[in-house]
């Protein structure tokens, strides 16, 4: 059994009178893909926003333990430090690329903290001091590696906003990976992808896991979830209703009830199983 990389304890998030997430506890282990699923409005994205520092949780703790020993209390860490120190990267449900910058520039911005450890070094670079040229070369190399990994090397000099949807999704993942994350949080990466693109995405995520980066995934595409996840957490109305391996979750009557009760748009895990 691997040690938990991320442990969420009694996480509660209220907006005014609305409780979006209530006393949620779960763990994500290192070198695994953990999926968070649940019907629309179950509070999945809220959990993500708490983990990545966009919301301050009302109560509860979110601990991140790096394999080499350092640990971080994400619920009280400043937004940008969650990415910089705790090494948690994320993508967004509605893609947030720097649309007017090129694909390559997007990946260079992601390496900002490596390229410019502090403002002084950033200003010294104006006068050609501080060995910036070398770091820049390394950064371009890393960007190239990831562009090849996601199959976008041919579009490196095109503006990100001009890419088709599926490529934008992949670029956003590559950009997040350029921050060298320990945990990659993906908010519905397969949304809007066609079946072939979904398959490519699954392969990419498995490769990323193979590279030593753990993944936390929100996803509606049960095909993707069941195929690649090591561990699934199911939320409904802000509460955890099931937690286990894909097979266990799929068999859980509470999960089926939650999905059937919700009705129309989401595939149930059982449907996905048949489809797969």
């Amino acid at each position: 059994m691997t040690a938990p990389l991320l442990s969420v304890e009694h996480l509660t998030m209220r907006f005014g009178g609305l409780t979006a997430v209530s006393a949620l506890s779960f763990a994500a282990r290192a070198n695994q893909i953990t999926a968070v699923i649940g019907p629309n409005g179950a509070g999945k994205t809220t959990v993500f926003n708490c983990i990545t520092g966009f919301y301050r949780p009302t109560s509860g703790t979110i601990q991140l333990h790096h394999p080499e020993g350092s640990s971080y209390a994400l619920q009280s860490l400043a937004g940008h430090l969650i990415a910089r120190r705790a090494k948690v990267a994320r993508t967004f449900q509605n893609i947030r690329l720097f649309a007017g910058m090129t694909v390559l520039e997007n990946l260079m911005v992601a390496q900002h903290n490596t390229l410019m450890p502090n403002v002084v070094s950033g200003l010294l670079a104006v006068f050609g001091l501080g060995g910036y040229r070398h770091t820049q070369k390394l950064a371009i190399e890393k960007a190239t590696t990831w562009l090849e990994a996601v199959g976008l090397i041919g579009r490196a000099d095109d503006p990100a906003g001009s890419l088709p949807y599926g490529q934008q999704r992949r670029l956003e993942i590559a950009r997040a990976m350029c921050t060298d994350p320990a945990l990659l949080c993906l908010d519905e990466p397969a949304a809007g992808l066609n079946p072939r693109e979904s398959d490519e995405l699954s392969e990419l995520l498995i490769r990323i896991r193979g590279g030593g980066c753990s993944i936390l995934l929100i996803e509606h595409d049960m095909g993707v979830v069941m195929r690649i996840s090591d561990h699934v957490v199911v939320l409904d109305h802000g509460k955890k209703i099931s937690d286990g391996t894909p097979a266990e979750v799929r068999a859980d009557p509470k999960v089926i009830a939650a999905y059937l009760g919700e009705g129309d748009e989401d595939e149930t895990p059982a449907d996905a199983e048949e489809a797969a």
Binding site: T45, N49, F54, F92, Q93
Partner: protein, 312 residues
Amino acid sequence: MQTKAGVLVAYALQQLINGVTLGMIYGLIAVGYTMVYGIIGMINFAHGDVFMIGAFLSLIGLTLLAGFGMTSVPLALAISLAAACAIAALYGWTVERIAYRPLRGSFRLAPLISAIGMSIVLQNFVQVSQGARDLNLQPLIPGGMAIFEENGFVVQLSWMQVVISIVTLALLAVFTWLVTKTPLGRAMRACEQDLKMASLLGIDTDRTISLTFVIGAILATVAGMLFLLYYGSINFFIGFSAGVKAFTAAVLGGIGSLPGAVLGGLAIGLIESFWSGYASVPYKNVAAFSVLVIVLIFMPSGLLGRSDVEKV
């Protein structure tokens, strides 16, 4: 000791009265800023100058009627206000039509610069056509009443202040009714929520936006006439400082919120009046702006503004 405290209270009361009066005028202008901002999300920099034009039109109207030998002050006021409102409404409409409508849906800064340009145009147009001098009007609504007297200090409530308060409150009541109860108000609120969707649902958005400018210009003209009557002196430059302060009021109250604009106007008026009364007159604008900065630091959406939770 007793009387000293009494004088202090009386002095404060006088500042309160003056501050509320001033705040009402700011509030009337601020409503125009906040309405336009709510619907098309731009700072209508030229709005302060429409206020100035309203004041000039009122003065021209009053002078013209006096020249025709009209002696009834209320009638002269009513006629010149109506005429000034009509012409100023045309200014509001034209400004939107030529400087903003072609830029609708364009980048955020283009309408802003166009608005600044329009403000320069209106200001200098009036300077060229009416001259740069201060123009004075003798008080038309003189007198007032002493509310109470304390040890020689008289708390004065002038009739002019009463008129300003009544007119403002009546106008705001009509305006609130217009926004909440009429089809036009419904269209305006729909456009404020989502311009594109409103247009898809068959609302004539161009017309609604034009009418918003027209209403804003009318409110500003009323404010302009009240300003003229209260201070008795206007020049082509009054639009800038009144405009900046009214916009400050709109932001302070929470831009996009109509009650916020009035509240913000009152707040700015009170701050100015109390700061002038107790600290220093030259620094009253510094006080107003400092309060704005402090409020925004702690309440980034203003006093009554919708908090803009970042959707991630």
